[in-house]
Symmetry: C2
Subunit: 380 residues, 2 copies
Amino acid sequence: MKFLHTSDWHLGRQFHNVSLLDDQKVVLEQIIDFMRSNPIDALVVAGDIYDRSVPPTAAIEVMNHFVNVVCGELHVPVILIPGNHDGAQRLGFGAEQLKQAGLHIIAHFDDMLQPVVIHTEQAGDVAFYGMPYNDPEIVRHYYQQSVSTHDDAHQLLCEKIREQFHPEQKHILISHCFVDGAMESESERPLSIGGSDRVNHQHFVDFDYVALGHLHQPQYKGESYIRYSGSIMKYSFSEQHQKKGMTLVEINQQGFHSATHIDLHAPHQMRILEGELNTLLECGKSDPKADDYLLVRLMDQHAILDPMEKLRAIYPNVLHLEKPGMLIGVEQEMGKARLARGELDMFKDFFLEAQQSDLTPEQEAVVTQVIQTLTRHGEE
Amino acid sequence: MKFLHTSDWHLGRQFHNVSLLDDQKVVLEQIIDFMRSNPIDALVVAGDIYDRSVPPTAAIEVMNHFVNVVCGELHVPVILIPGNHDGAQRLGFGAEQLKQAGLHIIAHFDDMLQPVVIHTEQAGDVAFYGMPYNDPEIVRHYYQQSVSTHDDAHQLLCEKIREQFHPEQKHILISHCFVDGAMESESERPLSIGGSDRVNHQHFVDFDYVALGHLHQPQYKGESYIRYSGSIMKYSFSEQHQKKGMTLVEINQQGFHSATHIDLHAPHQMRILEGELNTLLECGKSDPKADDYLLVRLMDQHAILDPMEKLRAIYPNVLHLEKPGMLIGVEQEMGKARLARGELDMFKDFFLEAQQSDLTPEQEAVVTQVIQTLTRHGEE
């Protein structure tokens, strides 16, 4: 039997004040397209469906459409758990009724112990156990046991789940957590402060497959069947080289058989461009993906008038601009006198940009005097 | 066939900074108890399930429990529309899936034209049409027709619904609106500013029953089958004499048969107490409902030290205090001199309360001087 493991959708996320919802819609359509041509037995979302506990209504509508197609048209069961970004109670409304239509939202500890069992000829009964994301304090309070870390919580919850194991069944776990030693990305929100959020992968070894969420880079940790599918798209510039997608998992009579990464392609990639302004503008003219979401690092060492406007004429979605070239200039300047001279140089660059001509000696004398007056004034 | 018509639950409402959720829970339990002993064919909620578009999670959990019992245990279909307090998209998540389990959330115009049809021996097929609450602008935009008022919108939407009528069926409409001429209460939020929110009841006469929401007082308007069930509990002190509850509707082969008001009792009533402090405190000792939510109007004409504390020792839930007796005193004072004497009198009252003794002549002279100084100071 085959199922798709995805996680970290973060529907409704904003990135540098740009809504990513249209990109997310396209990616969800790719998941649907894949399912249309590759019949699967279930779709798993390992948490962070939404980016916040109170998602924008537009994000709810996107999710609603997705569910209508997958459960309603394709008749593929969807099994999901809330992540640390989701609001479990809010997400869990109607869970009892929704599961009758194939949407399984596992938002409470009670639900955790009642697996979603899918029967297939290839693998027999496959039981999906969802562990909804919870702070250790909640686990301690609910079970009235000594639990202070995420690791303690996972040990306890995995024990509770193992007690439900049926020897005839295959066992899949869905969890939203940080497995110790796995690789972080910049766009994840820490589960707790101070490192007590790490979980030992040993808790998971008795499962046939562990579908993890939280970390945004696809990876496995400890065993090849303990996996993060990664987020469905990039959520920070530092993820520019990560391959985003979902994981196609195959389970057979012996248990775990294979995990295959399936690429998903957001219409706008997140990329970092580095170089001098004129070079970047020139390259942009022949860049087929000039509308990607860009962080631009300008290496020019002189001031430029309104570089953002110039860049956006070629690259419409420059979202962030850094000027490390200017910092090099500043670092090289030593002492007050040279800094003052630096200010004059800066103004000369600005004047050239704005007026397309150099300062006359008279103008330069006036500007020098103004800078000196301002500098003295600053010292008083 | 019988169904229950309710509306205006406003789950999660705060009243003078007190959460009413515990009271609302008790009232919902009364609805459930009624259904356990009086089998019905459907439960209708005509909008304002929640008090706001983003309800508190505790309110969502109360609603979730209610739905689990009514749909899951009692197997009674629940048909609801969003009101002007609800967020239609948010409330409508999973509507396609939920209806398979008997929870019908009619949140979109498409759903409006697909009635929930319930077959009974007594009345044949009874079709429930829900008209989700919408501003006229939304209706105009969706249907691209000239619609500027709530009345225009209702005329158009009722026409659309009538086109779906099946002569063999009975037709029930659920709508959240303000029927012209009906009685308002203080706790309703206006649908629009300037009076264009009124709807003519003539749009509704072709239905067998019209289950209305929005107005908090149970009433019918125009025809006995065009009804407001009213809110399930009181939401303002001005509703102290209203009888809150729900409406049990009976439909037979001829159509509308009867509508019966069923009382619901919130644990805390909202009441206004009026009188002098000592009288109220004395009466409170033998008041079996001293823990009701109270607005107290103190008629005493002299100042009292910390009356709220004294009242709450007897009536723990005094939520608001008015002192019309003091206003009478102030209104009777004429001119600056008398106002100044009024301040001295006030201080005398305060001193008597605080010290259990009158001012000595020396003390009175000092206070008079202080008041004069302060008054002069205020005039400069």
